[in-house]
Amino acid sequence: MTFDVAAIRKDFPVLHRLVNDKPLVYLDSANTSQKPQVVIDALANFMKHGYAPINRSAYQLAAEATDAFEATRSALATFINAPKANEVVFTKNATEALNLVIMSWGRANLKAGDAVLLTHMEHHANIVPWHMLVAERGIQLRWVPLTSDGQLDLTDLDSLLKDVKVFSFTSMSNVLGTINPVQRLCAAAHNAGAIAIVDACQSVPHQPTDVQAWGADFAVFSSHKMCGPSGVGVLWGRESLLEAMPPFLGGGNMIADVRLDGFTTAEVPAKFEAGTPAIAEIVALNSAVKYLTNLGMHNVRQHEIELSTYVLNTLNSRFGDDITIHGPTNPELRGATFSFAFRGIHPHDLSQVLDQTNVCVRAGHHCAKPLMRILGANATVRASFYLYNTTQEVDALADALDSASDIF
């Protein structure tokens, strides 16, 4: 099967929207992805004909809703090759999933002086909760530095990992596009006696995922970046670790019993799913997983390697020294997410000009301020591509960049 982008684009209604009579060139999928019609339909149809509470009621409508809800859990387990469906915990976004692991596992296992290893390319979601735990517990943070082409500098990894209890890192940088050697990093963590938490937000939507091959202990990602509805995040964790962890949020569904003087918790995953979840969105997420599975994640990855090659060739040949593209230059080592500096034009101004031709890119710090400081920038422009993007859209980006020079 060849990957038919033209056919795929038909599945995404928003790509046919004209803004000021011009089509949308959506290059912000690293931020959040667009939604195919099947996902929108699944959501609307469930809300129309099948909406009901899950878990707590015995009537048929509720039983059907529960089955549809749990089917997504199983589908996700298969999608990331998790050993068991009950290792999949639903949260509101990847950020909550990270906070859950960091606070629940962290409070139970980390004490003053314990070391945690992060990297210089982490998203705030994998930094700020650790800072909160530093303030609360007096743990210490260490950082894996970067090479000049935006890869992890692993020269001193073993000494950095010495006495470390947790190594928490991103599988792919949301700024540089760098794909990290997750399997190797998990093995190094385990060798050092640490657990490995993988922030898989940027890789799960874009390439095949196998948490067992990774050898990870926890992984997190978000529905909204993988063609699914907003409002759903996923935490996968090894069952034995999840079982040993204290609960995170307290309330309905996460309990076995509640008395005036205390409570006992339910089994995983319920233990970590307090309150009414995003029922309809989680049901509809299954359609996104099916959509991606049908396309084939290997094909998605291949498409993005081809796009990346085209992006690098086009921008470098058209703009030469006027453009500085951050991150690896080898498309095999990166995803199709490109942060760049262009002719000294401030990113905010640049994105504003690009928007005049409907080229939607993000300007800012991309929730990675420590990395921005290392790049020596307050902000960058980031163009991020996904399965529905085309080489013509790369050309549209390049044309729009050209026109920015008219103003500044």
Partner: protein
């Protein structure tokens, strides 16, 4: 470029390319720092207040054309003015930057914003309003410092 004339007026680009009053001031001047968490812009405003007058003002930091030009134009507008009048100018400017006028505050028509009127076009680009007001809010913080 079509559609952006309102935002990138010539005078704005001029202040961006050739900022006025860029730099720092030594103590006893005071300073304050402002951030735009959205885009990472940072600005620092230094002011020297003597005998109720903003006798000198400087700014530095980095940011987009709107935040930098607005700060530059702001320094020229307030330099040498009495603190009361400076506050009135800030208020007038922020009114101009508001899409929905606050019904309770009357507009002081006696204050002529002059070149600053060029920034009026920013209002059509709501995301950029925070860029335009960054320096001004930071100036208020700096004025508050002088009271301490």
């Amino acid at each position: 470029m079509a559609g952006l004339e309102d935002l990138y007026r010539e005078i704005i680009l001029d202040h961006y390319r050739t900022p006025r009053n860029r730099g720092e001031l030594e103590a006893p001047a005071v300073s304050a720092e402002g951030h735009n968490p959205l885009c990472g812009d940072e600005i620092r405003i230094f002011i020297d207040v003597k005998d109720g007058l903003v006798s000198d003002v400087r700014f530095n930091g980095s940011g987009c054309s709107i935040s930098q030009s607005s700060a530059s134009m702001m320094t020229t507008a307030v330099k040498g003015k009495p603190v009361d009048q400076v506050r009135a100018i800030v208020k007038r400017f922020k009114q101009m930057m508001t899409l929905d006028e606050d019904e309770n505050s009357t507009i002081d028509e006696s204050i002529n914003l002059g070149d600053l009127e060029a920034l009026q076009g920013v209002v059509k680009f709501p995301v950029r309003i925070k860029c335009a007001t960054l320096g001004w809010n930071t100036l208020l913080d700096a004025l508050a410092e002088t009271g301490k």
